[in-house]
Symmetry: C2
Amino acid sequence: MAARRKTGNVTLKDIAQATGFSANTVSRALADKPDISEETKAVIREKASQMGYIANALASFLRSGVSRNIAILVGDISNPHFSVMVKEMQTLLQRRGYNSIIFNTEEKAAVEKQAITTSLSQNVDGIILCPAPGGEENIRFLQMHGKPFVMIGRHFSGEDASFVICDDVHGGYAAARYLLDRGHKDILFLNGPRGISSSAERLEGYRAALEEKGIAYRSELVQTVPVTSRRGTEKMRDILSQRAECTAVLVFNDILAWQVICILGELGRKVPEQCSVVGFDNIKYPYPVHLTSVSSSKTTMAKRSVEILLKKLEGQKGAGEECVVLETDVVEGGTVAVLNEKR
Amino acid sequence: MAARRKTGNVTLKDIAQATGFSANTVSRALADKPDISEETKAVIREKASQMGYIANALASFLRSGVSRNIAILVGDISNPHFSVMVKEMQTLLQRRGYNSIIFNTEEKAAVEKQAITTSLSQNVDGIILCPAPGGEENIRFLQMHGKPFVMIGRHFSGEDASFVICDDVHGGYAAARYLLDRGHKDILFLNGPRGISSSAERLEGYRAALEEKGIAYRSELVQTVPVTSRRGTEKMRDILSQRAECTAVLVFNDILAWQVICILGELGRKVPEQCSVVGFDNIKYPYPVHLTSVSSSKTTMAKRSVEILLKKLEGQKGAGEECVVLETDVVEGGTVAVLNEKR
DNA sequence: CTGTTAGCGCGTTCAT
DNA sequence: ATGAACGCGCTAACAG
């Protein structure tokens, strides 16, 4: 039995004693350095495995300055939009030898700040984050600390930082256009919170589509809805019962869109016959009826963001910032009806 | 500007130099130890915050042996059943000053083993895991290493280990009984993989219910379905098209249950009129139609498992193993019909 | 109340 | 090809 210390684990020193080599040689053998003879490596590896050696990653970091840990910050891991991306990123990072630490920001800048601080204190090598509303300060904080990071799904104008987003202007435009083309004129837009690019840009697209069709923009038809709390449901219920004139609803994300469908049902309005609904994110729910939704390339976002971050970490010095804008479009489901009325 | 080292961060030493105290005094002041004068603490805290000091958690661990990191291992974070629990656990852990590191095991013992090894190498203080099929070996591995852990959702008989599970025997019984009471006799059971307690125990309950009703158990009506891969869908399609005589399907989890509903739709069978479906996990999807499903107290599982783990970590020595079995029952939705046929 | 010493486990550097 | 010395940043243990 090996000597047991504070952590109760087998250390390099234990293997050194057991094999007669120095701790150093053991370290280099296990790291497969070229200056150790194959013979020695074999002996050491054998002994290490036999003793159940597990390297202490934390001590290793302390010396090398590399933790091979990446932090992933998202608004809410229980939202499939995020959990699917997170899972994908984890897989990709794992494959490249990185672990990931996941944080929920609850879409609050203060919580995000806390998550970033913890990430820094855990010495993650880099961060992938979907920034919370009003989190510009946090981005500057990261930049100040020189910690490599990539934003996904949202960005802040003015910051020179890498991001991978969807073309939200076009997304908002395409969704509105899709509804307008099917005869809808009064389109309620239940948008996400202010302070994030996706809300602002989708609205921009929505307005552009209206304008193009010569339909007046009515600000009372655009409302902001909380994305994480239960209060969002209440607010949507209020709005929907007051806006019965709307023949279609465009909703910030698919979860909320489904909630809208439920609320409409409670209000006695059948979807899509009496009201059409379009969401964002195109989450592949296993449900007989598919939601008509604006696509977001979750797999691509995950892939590109990991690539960009790792290039920053491993690439030659100062790989510049990369900004990726992915295409997006309406994916047809069964929640939109064509209006025939001639008036 | 403070001196910058390998990690580029402000260290205790920097604060020591800036304030004229020793690194040690700074450490103890920031840790709010009682043997430092309030005055000194104030000075040091002020300076630390001004310099943007962020403690190096890894170095801290190396010395103290406490990382305040917990690993959470689940089959698939993109499954709401897990992501909801994970989120809840994260919140609770955070509140107690712990970070969490999440791993997907893909329901494979080998991947789980890897996740455990990484967790150990990251020196997490403890682990909460939903063990993968055939992962008994991994549990023994954890026990061998003396790493505190709690299993959730599943357990292995014979291991003296803490776990928090649902009463799956009763869950299987209640679900079958619910269908039998509504006139269903040919109940297809699409069960989870062998090698986990939930599959085995639900089957046990299913059989007990049949027996109680004097209905013969037909092994061809019980099939195992992969829970993570896309192959599960294919397999279910095959089975469902061959078992048209069944008037009801009991499915291992809600995701698969919804897939079953979709497949039945493709096969021209309407739910619940032509076939009833019951799932497990009672996931709160925001759909207009609710799935009839066997409840699982996700919040309670999360809460209890965190409690038990933290008691092990912080409590007086040798807090014994705790086994919690939570009640479960059928939650009515709209996917089960009452059979009227008199034959 | 505060400073000094020491060492957690590892990897880098230099010497042999 | 291998070993010895050193230090990453922090805190436990002891001095005073």
